[in-house]
């Protein structure tokens, strides 16, 4: 057994069933060994997307997604994907090939100091120098990636280590890391303090972030909200914690969120931030969320608590475990009826009124209609740009999931991530929605979808601009457009036909429902292009 066999064996031990990647000589021993396993390999068309696909997979399975790429350019190409996962705390194990140990540091062909380069975007990284360390390192990597605040871990394996013979392989049962013991259980005394605040509160609200979904605490939070009538708002990463039309849900907060959600948060007298970073996009004035209210901050990462705003009651621990403890405690509180009524008034008074151009597809009405026609448990992956903001505002989550690149805002995320989702859950309906700019960053993956039968529904909102930046230049530079015009766009109908993929186009809202139904009907990959008003704005 050599190092590469050992790596594959370790992945099997971890229950990995799919590896996304791109080969090169330095990772060839690994890709040779994988032939003798049951692991499915997906040849993604560029390395960044291998990490995005692994990210989509991880978000569905709750286990680290795995990608494997070659040394040098393969490794540097994957960095954006790793950084994207890091920003959203998505667990990944990323394996990179490396030049032979004796050549490291000599600047030989396709050598890159990848552990050095990714240092600020990974939770941890390893450069394997001894083949006998492989089982321990892989065990640790999966553990580190998927516990505490989750995130990507990189394992750099020189080719000679992959080829070296390993003495008696044994996969460790547990990890021994003296420096790493994340807190899971919340401090009971702190939890009691929160309950005491609930008993006093007249206007409590929960603001749920992506951490809730990562710890699968959404069901505990729904239970809590329903039992005591407590309203919930969410950050962008927290969309889907509550079904959109749940009577206790009051929308997404932040710059691009619902005005009534922000108002609700500001008017509250007890604010529970859970699994949310209090980052600039969600809370641009941290003072507002502490003034005149009690702020409770629940997060698994102690460094997030107090980073942007000092809470009155901090609780470090796993969101799910903490809400289980909260749900397990008895306490008295008000009925919050007046507060809910107040919030429903805001919802009515502060609803955004759009003036859509009837000559085009209205993204708001379209996304609303699309959601209503999607399966209840479908997964919606939004890209970045104006389309992301519209998706956040108008997609209706029922029993499914909503995903996007929130922290990094990486264009091109939606298609590969949706492919990862589909690989994880082949029975689910998976829809990726992107702009015509981002589509062109990821359209190489249409081939991957065809090759591996990954049936993703792709929707391109075509405005012939890098819309979000155009909108910014419209407001900031009085329409002095610079490098945002996308003339030269391919004809998507011809492109789809080149990939032998079903294609539909919507020019306005007239036939929208019929076309959407046709588009979603079968479990097959398909591309739907919607022509939207190039001058439309999200603000």
């Amino acid at each position: 057994m050599n190092g590469a066999d050992a790596l594959v064996k370790c992945l099997t031990e971890e229950g990995v069933d799919t590896v996304f990647g791109y080969p090169g000589v330095a990772i060839c021993p690994f890709y040779n060994s994988i032939l003798d396993s049951d692991i499915r390999t997906v040849l993604i068309r560029t390395e960044q997307n291998a990490a995005h696909a692994a990210s989509g997979m991880a978000r569905m399975t709750g286990k680290p997604g795995v990608c494997a790429v070659t040394s040098g350019p393969g490794a540097t190409n994957v960095i954006t994907g790793i950084a994207t996962a890091f920003a959203d705390s998505i667990p990944l194990v990323c394996i990179t090939g490396q030049v032979s140990t004796n050549l490291i540091g000599c600047d030989v062909f396709q050598e890159a100091d990848i552990t050095g380069a990714v240092e600020s975007f990974v939770k941890y990284s390893y450069l394997v120098k001894d083949v006998n360390d492989i089982p321990r390192i892989v065990k640790e990597a999966f553990h580190i990636a998927n516990t505490g605040r989750k995130g990507p871990v990189l394992i750099d394996v020189p080719i000679d280590v992959q080829n070296a013979t390993i003495r008696n392989f044994k996969y460790p049962e547990e990890v021994k890391l003296r420096t790493y013991k994340p807190t899971v259980k919340g401090n009971m005394a702190q939890i009691k303090k929160v309950l005491a605040e609930f008993s006093k509160a007249k206007k409590p609200i929960i603001c749920a972030g992506g951490g809730v979904l990562l710890s699968e605490a959404q069901f505990e939070i729904r239970k809590f909200a329903e039992k005591y009538n407590i309203p919930v708002v969410s950050t962008m990463m927290g969309i889907g914690v509550m079904p959109t039309e749940h009577p206790m849900y009051f929308g997404m907060v932040g710059n691009n969120g619902k005005p009534y959600a922000n108002k609700a948060m500001n008017e509250s007298d007890l604010l529970i931030m859970v699994g949310a970073r209090v980052a600039d996009r969600a809370v641009n004035q941290p003072d507002l969320i502490t003034k005149g209210k009690v702020l409770v901050h629940i997060d698994v990462d102690p460094a997030e608590i107090g980073k942007n705003v000092g809470p009155h009651i901090p609780i470090v621990g796993d969101c799910k475990s903490i809400f289980e403890d909260i749900n397990g405690s008895e306490f008295e509180c008000n009925d919050f009826k007046a507060w809910i009524d107040e919030l429903n008034t805001y919802k009515k008074d502060l609803a955004v009124v759009r003036k859509p151009n009837p000559k085009y597809v209205d993204p708001a009405a379209f996304i609303d209609m699309l959601s209503k026609n999607m399966k209840d448990d479908a997964v919606y992956v939004a890209d970045v740009g104006q389309n992301q903001i519209w998706s956040c505002s108008y997609h209706i989550v029922k029993d499914g999931r909503f995903m996007t690149s929130g922290g990094m805002g990486t264009m091109g995320y939606s298609i590969p991530a949706a492919m990862g989702v589909k690989c994880a859950c082949p029975d689910k309906q998976v829809v990726a929605v992107c702009g015509d700019g981002a589509f062109q960053m990821s359209m190489c993956e249409l081939a991957t979808m065809r090759q591996h039968d990954i049936n993703v529904k792709i929707i391109v909102l075509t405005n012939n601009y890098l819309g979000m930046v155009r909108e910014y230049q419209h407001y900031t530079y009085k329409d002095a457009y610079s490098v945002v015009d996308l003339s030269g766009n391919p004809d998507l109908e011809k492109l789809s036909s080149a990939y032998d993929m079903k294609f539909l186009r919507l020019k306005d809202m007239k036939d929208a429902e019929k076309v959407i139904k046709e588009f979603l009907k079968k479990d097959e990959s398909a591309l739907l292009e919607c022509l939207i008003d190039p001058m439309d704005t999200v603000k």
Binding site: S120, K123, K307
Partner: protein, 162 residues
């Protein structure tokens, strides 16, 4: 506010880069940094002096604790710690100022550890503030080169008693 961080880390390659990189990336200052093995050869101790407001100080400690190679972080105030720094200063001297230099060294308990016809190397091992005094005094002469270790610190015994 000045803070001293005594950081026990795994003695592995790349750890210094990770810790230093963390300060750099998050915009924290490093006033000084000293690294050496502890009694356990697998563990190194990094003594870092940094300054910043209260929130920064708290963040530094938390971010250090997040690093997987960090075993333990202790932070303390200069006031409750024993601090020492070693400095070597090479000065150019002449007949007229030689006595003055020797007098300064005498008063500040610094030693002359090497000497030639025109140059001497002065060594001092003391609290950082004393080091500054010597440095300022010697600036009047003519300093050729300076090498400092950075501050080393341990908590005072009376604090450890508590």
């Amino acid at each position: 506010m000045k803070r001293i961080y005594s950081v026990l880390v795994e003695n592995r390659s790349g750890v210094l880069m990770k810790v230093a990189g963390l300060f750099c990336r998050r915009g924290f200052n490093i006033d000084s940094l000293a690294v050496g093995e502890t009694d356990d050869p697998k563990v190194s101790c990094m003594t870092i002096v940094s300054s910043g407001d209260e929130r920064t100080i708290e963040q530094i400690e938390k971010q250090l604790n997040k690093k997987l190679d960090v075993i333990k972080v202790k932070t303390f105030d200069e006031k409750i710690s024993v601090t020492r720094e070693l400095m070597l200063v090479k000065v150019k001297y002449n007949k007229n100022n030689r006595r003055d230099i020797m007098e300064i060294c005498d008063i500040l308990k610094a030693n002359i550890v090497d000497m030639s016809k025109h140059f001497m190397v002065i060594q001092i091992c003391d609290r950082p503030d004393k080091i500054e005094i010597l440095l300022n005094m010697l600036k009047e002469v003519s300093i050729v080169e300076v090498a400092r270790t950075g501050v080393l610190a341990l908590q005072k015994c009376s604090e450890t008693d508590k």
